[in-house]
């Protein structure tokens, strides 16, 4: 890890060449809970060139399972989670903008979180990691931006949990954000959203291996617990839609000779699933086990659950009274996890305050995850390019 605050000396990665993750270290951060967390490391990536006036910065805010690697390709060939949107000539044009994306506080991809070593014990924090909020995540992002010597952001752009952060940015740092794009987000998580997160966490809690909370389980000798995989599967169902599942999987089976009589009841392990939709979820769960940390999952979903600007400020018009940014709120017709009505609640509050807000509801079948789906990129690209241009 190397702290490097002078951007001009950095070999700034751009699409086409392998991306590089940078790290900034901070002594500490004061959390909303009153706990002081430190030391703190923030992992981030940048794309494009910072303008001499430092006025072309777009901060990208990732969702629950995202990380700092938003665009381009790593040396190992891993493509960024929003590569379709960020790059030269793309919706967030790196020929024009200097794009920053950092891993959120509590994450497991380089920024301090449950898998990081607790300086007091030398062992990973695990579930002893302090309780964090969306605000804490934003405060850490603000610390990073300040460290990089940037005083004003051209835009903050985030989907889902990232959209919550974008709202918080616009609300608490009005002078620092010229515009904000809030995609498939809400000002308060719905009881349905809380319910699904609860089931996800329960899958982890009830996992016989992870239940003990010891992160040092020898994964070579003991079968890894599958709680996190189950949590991810539940999550994935909520990110899709009935229509797209029908289109993508239908009732197709993975084995040709499978029939309705000789099905498996999980005798041979859990198996890889008989229906294609099962096999897809299984695959998503397994992949997630390799790349995510279950305690991060718990701590971040808790932060999402408790995000509620309405109760925090009394009501949304009070919450947004400080907003000065040009706002764009985006929702998707098929998103039943963060439905349009929730985006509209944000929009109506901003309207009441006569703020500069645009609202686009896109007719897309891909559910909550629409903003990440390649098929959605042509339309999203036009919207992002147009909006960022007009800021």
């Amino acid at each position: 890890m190397q702290a490097s605050s002078d951007l001009n000396n950095q070999n700034i990665s751009s699409y086409g060449s392998p991306t590089r993750t940078f790290y900034e270290s901070f002594e500490q951060v004061d959390l909303e809970s009153g706990v002081r967390l430190g030391p703190l490391t923030v992992a981030y990536e940048t794309y494009g060139q910072l303008s001499p006036g430092k006025d072309n910065v777009v901060l990208i805010l990732h969702a629950l399972s995202g990380d700092a690697h938003a665009a381009g390709m790593t040396e190992n060939g891993r493509v960024g989670w929003w590569d379709g949107m960020i790059g030269p000539g793309k919706g967030v044009d790196t020929n024009k903008y200097f794009v920053i994306c950092s891993n959120c506080l509590g994450g497991c991809k380089g920024t301090t979180g449950p898998p990081s070593p607790n300086p007091l014990t030398g062992k990973p924090y695990g579930r002893s990691f302090p309780r964090i909020t969306i605000r804490d995540m934003v405060n850490v992002q603000a610390m990073l931006i300040e460290r990089l010597g940037i005083s004003k952001l051209h835009s903050v752009v985030g989907g889902s949990m990232g959209g919550m952060q974008a709202l918080d940015w616009a609300t608490r740092f009005p002078g620092k954000v010229k515009s904000a794009v809030v995609i498939a987000a809400t000002a308060r998580l719905s009881p349905q959203g809380i319910a699904f997160n609860w089931v996800g966490r329960n899958a982890i809690y009830s996992d016989p291996i992870s239940a003990c909370g010891t992160p040092e389980v020898d994964s070579d000798s003991v079968r890894m617990g599958r709680g996190l995989a189950v949590a991810r599967m539940i999550g994935h169902i909520t990110y899709l839609s009935e229509e797209i599942m029908e289109r993508k999987f239908g009732r197709k089976l993975t084995l040709k000779d499978m029939d309705g009589i000789r099905y498996s009841l999980g005798e041979n392990e859990i198996g890889s699933g008989e229906f294609e939709v099962e096999s897809y979820l299984e695959h998503q769960g397994a992949k997630f086990m390799e790349r995510f940390d279950e305690d991060s999952y718990i701590i971040i979903t808790k932060a999402i659950d408790y995000f509620d600007l309405e109760s925090q400020y009394g009501d949304l018009t009070r919450a947004f009274s400080t907003v000065e940014s040009k706002m764009l709120v985006l929702s998707f017709t098929s998103d039943w996890l963060y439905p349009t009505s929730m985006s509209l609640a944000i929009v109506r509050a901003l309207q009441t305050l006569k703020k500069n807000v645009s609202f686009v509801e896109l007719d897309m079948p891909f559910g909550h995850d629409s903003f990440l789906i390649p098929a959605a990129m042509p339309k999203l690209t036009r919207i992002m390019r147009g909006f960022l241009n007009g800021v």
């Binding site: 929009v347 109506r348 309207q351 009441t352 686009v360 007719d363 339309k379 919207i383 147009g386």
Partner: protein, 209 residues
């Protein structure tokens, strides 16, 4: 949803007269809400020519995206759901251009317009035009014309109203007409002999008492 959307068929150049009339009515530097703003043509002209701070409302996704691309502030909303969220008197002008005849409940929306804006500008095709009327009576069939270009069984124009209809409607809802402009052969006129029979389009500036 958008596959079988009926395009508003009067091309822009044919309705330029209509836009010119609206632009003429608007005081520079004001706030304008354009309901059914399409691709934002009127609002971008108002921005460029009158330094207007505009906002559009449009349901068609492709048109909404065009607005964003042109840097026009826009909302994806269904006008038949009213103008919830728009504060009272938050705009100097609310414009409803060529859309009145397509609404499920014109009365509800026009009342909402009067609530949200100090003044409202409404343009609509005049079904009272003698050629249209003659066609109606002569053939005994619902006419298809330049102002009403779709057959009855597949048209967004679900109301057929005349200039006289509109005048009594405005009185009925307790508002008043401040200005009337009539468009015939793309020529706007403030004075017209027998407008209810001759005008192709009506354009009215109305306000609440």
């Amino acid at each position: 949803m958008s596959d079988n959307v009926i395009e508003i068929r009067t091309p822009f150049h044919e309705f330029e007269a209509g836009f010119n009339v609206i632009i003429e009515l608007i005081t520079p530097g004001t706030r304008v809400l354009d309901l059914g703003c399409g691709t934002g043509t009127l609002l971008s002209r108002l921005r460029d020519e009158k330094d207007v701070e505009g906002c559009g409302v449009e349901l068609d996704q492709e048109k909404v995206i065009r607005c964003i691309e042109r840097g026009i502030r826009v909302m994806t909303l269904d006008l038949d759901q009213g103008l919830e969220g728009f504060p009272d008197l938050s705009y100097e002008y609310v414009v409803l251009s060529r859309t009145l005849q397509q609404l499920m409940n014109p009365e509800a929306l026009v009342k909402e317009m009067l609530r949200v804006g100090s003044k409202s500008i409404i343009t609509f095709p005049n079904f009272g035009n003698w050629k249209v009327m003659f066609e109606y009576v002569w053939s005994g069939k619902t006419p298809v014309s330049g102002t009403h270009p779709h057959p009855w069984y597949n048209t967004p124009d679900i109301h057929r109203l005349t200039i006289n209809d509109f005048r009594s409607f405005v009185k009925q809802i307790g508002a008043r007409i401040e200005k009337e402009i009539f468009i015939l052969h793309n020529q706007p006129r403030t004075q017209m002999f027998w407008p209810n029979r001759r005008a192709e389009w009506g354009c009215c500036l109305i306000s609440a008492y």
